[in-house]
């Protein structure tokens, strides 16, 4: 499954990286602690979080993640979206909770990243 298919299946809003939705999703990870993400998330994973500041983009870029899903409708500021656009990071917004996003993604066959 690619990022675009996941985004439409879950009704996610694309905040940045519209051109990169073809990327395949290799698995998923959820946490709001950046160090845990650095330790556990793998290249090509989606990352579900409540954090919405610019550092999320740095983490996603360093780990080469497929997309960041910001849950509970939290909107990052425009500077964060611009940085994501510049770094080639896909930012998605979900109205659902982290738990619901992970549940729905799991139903679609996206496994925990490893």
């Amino acid at each position: 499954m690619n990022v675009g298919e996941l985004a439409s299946a879950l009704g996610l809003q694309v905040l940045a990286g519209q051109a990169l939705l073809q990327r395949q999703v290799s698995g998923g990870y959820a946490s709001d602690l950046l160090s845990c993400v650095m330790a556990k998330a793998r290249a090509g994973n989606i990352w579900v979080t409540l954090q919405a500041h610019a550092n999320v983009v740095a983490v996603a870029s360093l780990l080469d993640l497929a997309a960041v899903i910001i849950a509970e409708g939290i909107q990052p500021d425009t500077a964060t979206c611009e940085k994501a656009e510049a770094e080639g990071v896909v930012l998605l917004s979900a109205s659902q909770t982290t738990y619901a996003v992970v549940g729905a993604a799991t139903q679609l066959g996206i496994a925990p990243g490893s």
């Binding site: 650095m38 330790a39 979080t49 983490v59």
Partner: protein, 323 residues
Amino acid sequence: MAEGAKGDQPAAAGKPSISKSQELVYELKIGDIMTRDPIVVGPDCRMSELKEILRVKRISGVPVVEAGRLVGIISIEDLILALERGLTGARVGEHMTRQVQVVYADESVIQAVTKFARFGYGRLPVVDRAGHMVGIVTQGDVVRGLLRQLDVQWQEEEIHRYRASHIFEDIESDQTGLVLRYRVAARDFVRGGEASSKLKRALERLGAPPPVVRRVAVAAYEAETNLIIHTDSGGELIAEVQPDRIRVVALDTGPGIADIDRAMQPGFSTAPDWIRELGFGAGMGLNNIRACADEMSIESQLGTGTRLEVIFHLAMERKKEAA
């Protein structure tokens, strides 16, 4: 030259969405891609001779030139019309088109592309500013010219990459090293991760194995984040790249770590709540660094500063890559 001014506009605007070939259409000059010394005929040439020239040379039209100056153009269509009327003995000058669309050698290729599209012509004579015929340009010339230029640029990029990744083989010394130094400001969360991102890109360009690049990136990010969160006045992230190893040092001038053993324990953190709310200060940073690095050492003194050193060996990864 109203149409010329219009044609030049998109290049000047420098739209980010412009593709490489579109860019080249503006950059390349018609003189670079045209065919020089094209086949031409004089106005006195008979239609029967023209028929032979077109047949033998397998072309569908030729410019008509008199004393070096372009006076018209004659196509296979003009020839067929003349032959239909049995005028094989007629002269080219009587049947040629006199109002000829031309392009200039110093114009960009987009002028030719625009005229091909507007008039439906297959070829355009190229003249210099004094009106002398200097060549001919066809749609095939445009395609060939663009492909050749793309090829040249691609090769230049390849050479660029080759040079970066072979720096250690090309430069001889008893110990070659490349030092990359990044300044990290305290409390600057917005720019957090910039130094490690730059380091990651540099290592990729230098041709370091991807698994090592990933480990260095994670360790460098944690070290950078520590400089941002915990130091009084920021610090430096210094990477020393050698053929067989990468050493990353994070240096700061305080406040220093009171108890390094405790700081190494997972979950132990001295970060204030507002920083923790941003997702930092989970107390995993030093653990992450240790997990990623092949060697790690940390020295710290309260009031003086901290020096963290991590080493990544490249030899083993290279062997794994080769296998």
